[in-house]
């Protein structure tokens, strides 16, 4: 069941009604049943895996909480982490590592062992695994007490709006909301939720799906496209990814809000206009970035003040971020390129600042900011090429084709199609500028009733009129 479908909307309204008609102490039953049903619509078999992961994390966290001995706690944590990570490693990384290992050992005459499996990757596994890991580590660190109510913990792991693609929520943020849900229906929360959902649908159905039509044409036939066509595909892919993923987050946050549950804002509104990659990563997929910061970078770096080690740790984090998306060389290259760029930014920042100020072209100047944004966006788009290319070889082909002087565009880049895309993106940016750092529901709260209605009807009409319904899957579901 996809967020962009009528059936999801019907499902959401049914669960909402049931939720608020059920006594508070039994609401977790409604939410758990709804979430497992939602997940089962994707693949019923994987519900078992979700339940197993939940059970392992629940039991391990209780064990950690009950054991006073720090060493014993650490042993339980390690056991829990290994058990929770095992399905993810098997489904997502086994084939890559076995293929890489076999390729490496082939010269020694060793091959044929560790045959590849052909199982489907359970949808959402990276997200709920990371959420569960953060809970286990937080329990070990004492940031959150172990949840004793198995049902409430299961809802924390499986809450349907965020189950498939995040936001990756921490226990201390979400568990209290499940323990003490809003007792009464809140009209303003429900309306705010719908406003977020409509905005998300616009970004996905109108913008991301239209951008995808063009991007797919180029990336699916890399050998046939050159020059401007490939450059445009790279730029469009950056926007597509933002519109797609932030739309998912908006719909997830909006759906949760209707139940009175507050989820994290996963994206800065104008993250695509960042003036540095460092700023970009502060506003992009925030909950994943924070996860890597808190559970990888900080533990790796707290024992050292050596800058070289810190830089190496930074690179490790970006490498893992790439690898989190999938076991492919393209993701690894993308992660490393991002790491190197951020590292270079940090290392050269004082020198760059001094250099530009000597030229009278300091970072506070508007033109400097505009050029920085353009440079950073272009760099991000070129890194994105490796992210989107189906294989590393196709990435290389497209990268070579970037530098061929060819001004033609594929059929999916006709002027009328491009016009809708460009106008849509400009419209989105205008709204984002109005929103500033606020979510759209907060902006709308400050407007009159007429403006709120005009927004809802106007955006819904745009979705129905300009929407593309063929490319319904969200991009991040594959991770």
């Amino acid at each position: 069941m996809l967020f962009t479908t009528a059936s999801y909307f019907a499902f959401l309204l049914v669960v909402l009604t049931l939720w608020f008609q059920t006594p508070v102490r039994y609401r977790w039953v409604v939410m758990l049943a709804a979430s497992y049903f939602f997940y089962a619509t994707w693949n019923p078999g994987f519900v078992l895996l979700l339940a197993l992961t939940t059970g392992v994390a629940y039991g391990t966290a209780l064990r950690i909480g009950r054991t006073p001995d720090r060493e014993a706690q650490k042993r339980w944590l390690r056991t829990g982490v290994v058990l929770v990570l095992a399905p993810l490693l098997f489904y997502k990384y086994f084939n890559f590592f076995s293929a890489t290992l076999q390729a490496g050992l082939k010269p020694l005459g060793l091959s044929g062992f560790l045959p590849a499996h052909h199982y489907l990757l359970p949808v959402g596994i990276s997200f709920y695994t990371f959420q569960t890991l953060s809970y286990l580590i937080d329990v070990y660190r004492g940031y959150v007490r172990p949840e004793k109510h198995a049902g409430i913990f299961a809802v924390y792991v499986a809450f349907f709006p965020q189950l498939l693609a995040g936001p990756i929520e921490r226990g201390r943020q979400l568990l209290p909301q499940w323990r003490h849900p809003h007792p009464a229906f809140s009209y303003s929360d429900a309306v705010a939720g719908l406003q977020l959902i409509i905005w998300g649908l616009f970004k996905k159905i109108v913008l991301a799906n239209r951008l995808q039509e063009y991007v797919d044409t180029v990336f699916d036939q890399p050998e046939q496209h050159y020059g401007l066509g490939v450059w445009l595909a790279c730029f469009f892919f950056s926007f597509q990814l933002f519109c797609d993923f932030s739309a998912y987050s908006d719909i997830a946050v909006g759906s949760a809000r209707m139940f009175g549950v507050r989820l994290s804002q996963n994206f800065a509104n104008r993250v695509y206009a960042s003036r540095s990659r460092t700023e970009f990563w502060q506003g992009w997929h925030r909950t994943l970035t924070a996860w890597f910061r808190d559970y990888i970078y900080t533990p790796l770096s707290k024992q050292t003040r050596d800058r070289r080690v810190l830089y190496l740790n930074l690179l490790v984090v970006y490498l893992l971020t790439g690898l989190w998306h999938g076991a492919q060389w393209g993701f690894i290259v993308w992660g490393l390129l991002n790491g190197l760029w951020v590292l270079t930014e940090q290392v050269t920042r004082p020198a760059r600042r001094a250099f530009f100020e000597r030229l009278g072209f300091g970072p506070e100047l508007r033109l400097h900011q505009i050029l920085s944004t353009m440079l950073v966006f272009t760099a991000g788009a070129l890194m994105g090429l490796w992210f989107r290319a189906a294989t590393f070889a196709e990435g290389k082909t497209l990268f070579r084709h970037l530098f061929v002087a060819d001004w033609s565009l594929p059929a999916s880049g006709s002027s009328s199609r491009l016009l809708v895309i460009v106008l849509g993106l400009v419209g989105m940016d205008v709204v984002h500028r109005l929103m500033d750092a606020r979510p759209i529901d907060v902006l709308l709260q400050q407007q009159s009733r007429w403006v709120r209605w005009a927004y809802a009807v106007g955006v819904a009409e745009l979705i129905l009129t300009l929407g593309r319904y063929d490319n319904v899957r969200f991009y991040y579901f594959q991770f």
Partner: protein, 338 residues
């Protein structure tokens, strides 16, 4: 919560009202061209009394059966018309067959109907009258789906619900048509209408109207798979499940044809998706020999799947259509003409 539900209903009412207004304002513009099945019917009407053979099917029929060549190969014992329309599948095709058979002004002797699966992932024009009838066939069809295809059918059901609801509400298609129909550029307008109806005998000899993108590209790698799927029809049959609802519809149509004294036959599309091959080949085999057109398997059939005879992975090009029409005519003369 009552206030929320009340305002939600009000929201949908306002949304529908605005849509209705846009429809009213634009209705006059697209009337002439939007009904692609009607446009095709009008084309047929102009030749009523002359045409005695009609082929009904999707874009695969539209682009691959050349009536002029077909008639010359049957020694002009037929005067045929291509009623292929883009995204035209069962139950629409069957309903159209029913309507054409019942028409007394047509001198219809032979009626070929392409077997297809109901598809809802492409835009359904809400002003195709058949769109409103879909649930009548589709729901029992879904209910009767063999267990191995149940999963894909439930996804289809969701796509169907989505597409159906959104298209019924959306004026986008009509606005696009309105703009195209009202253009001052006569050549463009003619081109646009030709996209819907093809040449006077209904055949679409090239790819206009079917967005072929930048050519075959990666599609060519998929042609062998299309080929091997199509070859399954020549292999020995096993214990294959057929959808009883679909089978019933076929029998009903055969009964109607007998009543109207029309020689009805079914044929497989020349390019099949995996799902189509799984469902349609057993169905095709279950039809008695006098009501199915079984193409001979020879090198010409294999050539149909070569890139040089393909427009894209799902359609043959002009060269492919000439081969395919030849095969169809040969089978037709052998199996249908007394």
């Amino acid at each position: 919560m009552i206030r929320f539900w009340r305002n939600l209903l009000l929201f949908f009412a306002v949304l529908a009202a605005v849509k209705g207004l846009v429809l009213l304002l634009s209705a006059g513009y697209y009337e002439r061209v939007i009904h692609d099945t009607r446009a095709k019917t009008l084309l047929l009407d102009r030749q009523a009394g002359r045409i005695n053979t009609v082929f009904i099917g999707s874009s695969r029929t539209f682009t691959s059966i050349d009536p002029a060549r077909f008639d010359s190969l049957t020694g002009h014992r037929t005067c045929s018309f291509n009623f292929g329309v883009s995204s035209f599948f069962i139950p629409h095709t069957f309903r159209t067959a029913e309507v054409l058979m019942a028409r007394r002004d047509l001198a219809l002797h032979y009626l070929g109907v392409e077997l297809s699966l109901p598809r809802f992932d492409t835009s359904i024009d809400p002003f195709r009258w058949e769109a409103w009838e879909q649930p009548r066939f589709y729901l029992p069809y879904l209910f009767n789906a063999p267990p191995d295809t149940a999963g894909s059918h439930s996804r289809r059901a969701e796509q169907y619900l989505n597409t159906y609801l959104f298209t019924l509400l959306s004026p986008a298609l009509r606005l696009r048509m309105a703009v195209a129909a009202h253009t001052d550029d006569a050549a463009r307008r003619q081109q646009f209408e030709a996209d819907l109806t093809g040449s006077p005998d209904g055949y679409l000899p090239d790819n206009h109207g079917l967005d072929a993108g930048t050519g075959l590209g990666r599609d060519s790698a998929e042609l062998p798979a299309y080929h091997s799927r199509s070859l399954l029809v020549y292999s020995r049959s096993g214990n294959e499940a057929v959808n009883p609802e679909y089978r019933e519809e076929i029998d009903r149509l055969i009964g109607l044809a007998q009543r109207h004294r029309v020689r009805l036959f079914f044929y497989l599309p020349n390019r099949m998706t995996p799902e189509e091959a799984r469902a349609l080949i057993p169905l095709f085999r279950s039809i008695d020999a006098q009501h199915r057109l079984h193409l001979p398997h020879d090198p010409r059939f294999d050539a149909l799947f070569l890139p040089r005879f393909s427009m894209d992975r799902g359609h043959v090009n002009y060269g492919g259509s000439q081969i395919y029409t030849g095969l169809m005519a040969e089978a037709f003369v052998k199996q249908m003409v007394p």
